[in-house]
C-alpha cells in the first residue's frame, strides 16, 4: 500500500483538471503560454483544492497559480503544508 503525499495529490489535481499528459506536465512550464490552457482551468484547480482541503484561496493568490510550482506555493500558504520540500514518494 502506498501513501500518497499532499505533493502528489496536488500534481494529480492539476493533471485531472488540465488534462495535460503526465509525462508532459513539469513544475515550471506555464499553463497558458506553454500548455495552451485557459482561465477556467485555474478556477477549477482552485475549487478542487478548496473543497478537498477545506481552505480558501484568495483572488491575488489564484493569480499566482500560473504553473504547477505556483499551485504548490499557494497550496503551501493556505494549508501550511510545505509545497516543495515535503515531497514523499512512498
Amino acid at each position: 500500500v502506498s501513501m500518497t503525499s499532499s505533493r502528489d495529490r496536488i500534481r494529480d489535481i492539476v493533471l485531472e483538471r488540465t488534462e495535460v499528459d503526465d509525462d508532459v506536465l513539469d513544475e515550471t512550464s506555464l499553463f497558458y503560454e506553454d500548455y495552451g490552457l485557459n482561465s477556467i482551468v485555474v478556477v477549477e484547480i482552485q475549487a478542487a483544492i478548496e473543497m478537498e482541503y477545506e481552505v480558501e484561496i484568495g483572488k491575488e493568490q489564484s493569480l499566482r497559480m500560473v504553473n504547477l510550482a505556483g499551485v504548490r506555493a499557494v497550496f503551501g500558504e493556505v494549508t501550511g503544508i510545505a509545497g516543495r520540500t515535503g515531497h514523499v514518494n512512498a
Binding site: N38, S39, I40, V43, A47, G58, K59, S62
Partner: protein, 410 residues
C-alpha cells in the same frame, strides 16, 4: 439608402428606479442600489451584497398574465412601460402595432436562472412533480421575449432571445437596428433582462469577482462586481415612422459592432475590444473624435477595467472622451446591463447630462481615464458609445446620437 433608426420609447426596471423619469433622477443623484441579498440564503458566503429590485409587483405593470419567471416579468413590465412611453398604447387598447410586422429581441445572461434555483430547491425538498413542471416552464431563455410579445399582443412580431451574457442587451439593440434598416420590420422592442440568482452569484463568487463592499469602476482599489437585476427596453422605429405619427425622439441609434474573440472563456482581449469599438464607429459613420462620452462596460474587476481602458486608448488616442462606469450605481445587471446603459446614453443626449462613476476615490493609473468621478456633469452630448463586453470575448458596442436635426456634423 439605409433607414435612420430612432428611439421613441424606453422602459426601466432596476434597483435604483422604475420608469424613465425616476431613472433620470437617480442618475443625477448618483444613487446606488446595493443592499443585502434577500432573494436567496447567503449562508456560507463571506459577503452578500447585490443590487436587487425591491417591491416589484408585476400586476402593477402587466395587463396580461403575471405567471412569469422573474426575469421575464421584468422584461414584460419594462416593455409595457416602453410602449406606453412611446405613445403606442395610450388609448388603452392593444395598440396600433398589433398586426404590424415587428421584432421583439431580449438579451439575457441567465434567462430563467432564478426559477432554476427554485427547481433545485424543489428537488431537494422532494416537491410534487407539478411544482417542478411549473418551474421548468419558466427556465428557458426564450420565455423572456415570448413574454414581451404576449404582454404587448404582438401577434406578428418575431420574438428572439439573445443569450450573449453581459453584452446581450447591445446585441438585442443591434438586432433591432438591422431588422429596421433592412425594412424587415416596422418597429422593434429591444433590450435585456435578468434576475439575481444564487446560481449566478455563486459563479461570480467562485471566480473571485464579487466585491466585498462597493463596486468601484476604474478605482485603484476596486475589488469586483456586485450582481444586479432588472430590465431595460427600448422602442425603435424609423425616423420616418416616428415623424409620421408625431412621436417624440430621444436619440438615434447610429450603428453597432459585434465581435466574438473566443480567445479565452473569462479573460478579455484588448485587440478584440478595440476591433469591436472600431467596427461600431465605422457602422455609425462616426469618427472617434466625435464621441462625447463612453458608457463603459466598467465592471469594477481588475482585469476588465484595465483591458477596456487600454483598448479605449488604442482607439481614441492619448486623450479619450470621458468614460463612465455605471455599474457602481446599478450593479452588474447582466443581460440588462447594456440595455439600461443604452437608456442612460439616450437620456444623456436628451438632458445634456453625463452621469457619474460613483464610489470613486482614486483613479487607477493603469486606466488613466476621466471617469466623471462621483458627480455628474452638464455637457452637450451628441454622440455616445455604449460598450458591452462579455465572457468569451462576446463583445457588442452600440453608438447613439442626437436626433438627426440636432446632431449636425463636425
Amino acid at each position: 439608402v439605409t433607414a435612420t433608426v430612432v428611439i421613441t420609447g424606453m422602459g426601466v426596471m432596476c434597483g435604483v428606479a422604475t420608469g424613465v423619469d425616476e431613472f433620470a433622477g437617480a442618475l443625477r443623484a448618483g444613487r446606488g442600489a446595493a443592499g443585502r441579498i434577500t432573494l436567496f440564503d447567503t449562508t456560507g458566503f463571506a459577503h452578500d451584497l447585490a443590487c436587487e429590485v425591491t417591491g416589484f409587483e408585476p400586476g402593477r405593470w402587466l395587463r396580461g398574465t403575471t405567471d412569469l419567471g422573474r426575469a421575464a416579468a421584468f422584461a414584460a413590465a419594462a416593455s409595457r412601460m416602453a410602449v406606453r412611453d412611446a405613445g403606442i398604447d395610450a388609448s388603452g387598447d392593444e395598440g396600433p402595432w398589433r398586426d404590424r410586422s415587428g421584432m421583439v429581441c431580449v438579451g439575457t445572461t441567465d434567462g430563467g436562472g432564478y426559477e432554476l434555483d427554485a427547481m433545485v430547491r424543489a428537488d431537494l425538498d422532494d416537491a410534487p412533480p407539478q411544482v417542478r413542471a411549473a418551474l421548468a416552464r419558466k427556465v428557458p431563455a426564450t420565455t423572456l421575449s415570448v413574454a414581451v410579445a404576449r404582454e404587448l399582443g404582438l401577434s406578428r412580431a418575431e420574438a428572439v432571445t439573445v443569450a450573449t451574457a453581459c453584452a446581450a442587451g447591445n446585441y438585442a439593440i443591434g438586432a433591432g437596428l438591422d431588422a429596421l434598416r433592412s425594412g424587415d420590420v416596422e418597429f422593434a422592442v429591444c433590450g435585456g433582462a435578468d434576475a439575481v440568482s444564487r446560481r449566478n452569484f455563486t459563479g461570480f463568487y467562485r471566480l473571485g469577482l464579487i466585491a466585498p463592499d462597493r463596486c468601484r469602476p476604474f478605482d485603484a482599489d476596486r475589488r469586483g462586481i456586485l450582481t444586479g437585476e432588472g430590465a431595460g427596453v427600448l422602442v425603435l422605429e424609423t425616423a420616418e415612422s416616428a415623424a409620421r405619427r408625431g412621436a417624440r425622439v430621444y436619440a438615434e441609434v447610429l450603428g453597432y459592432g459585434l465581435a466574438c474573440d473566443a480567445a479565452d472563456p473569462l479573460a478579455p482581449a484588448r485587440e478584440g475590444i478595440a476591433r469591436c469599438m472600431r467596427t461600431a464607429l465605422a457602422d455609425a459613420g462616426v469618427m472617434p473624435a466625435e464621441v462625447d462620452y463612453i458608457s463603459a462596460h466598467g465592471t469594477g474587476t481588475r482585469t476588465n477595467d484595465v483591458t477596456e481602458s487600454q483598448a479605449i486608448h488604442d482607439v481614441f488616442g492619448a486623450a479619450p472622451p470621458r468614460t463612465v462606469g455605471l455599474k457602481g450605481m446599478l450593479g452588474h445587471t447582466m443581460g440588462a446591463a447594456t440595455a439600461l446603459a443604452g437608456i442612460v446614453c439616450a437620456l444623456s443626449i436628451r438632458d445634456g447630462f453625463i452621469p457619474p462613476t460613483v464610489n470613486h476615490e482614486r483613479t487607477d493609473p493603469d486606466c488613466a481615464l476621466d471617469c466623471v468621478p462621483n458627480h455628474g456633469v452638464s455637457a452637450d452630448v451628441r454622440v455616445v458609445q455604449n460598450n458591452g463586453l462579455a465572457f468569451g470575448g462576446n463583445n457588442a458596442v452600440v453608438v447613439f446620437g442626437a436626433a438627426p436635426d440636432r446632431r449636425g456634423r463636425l
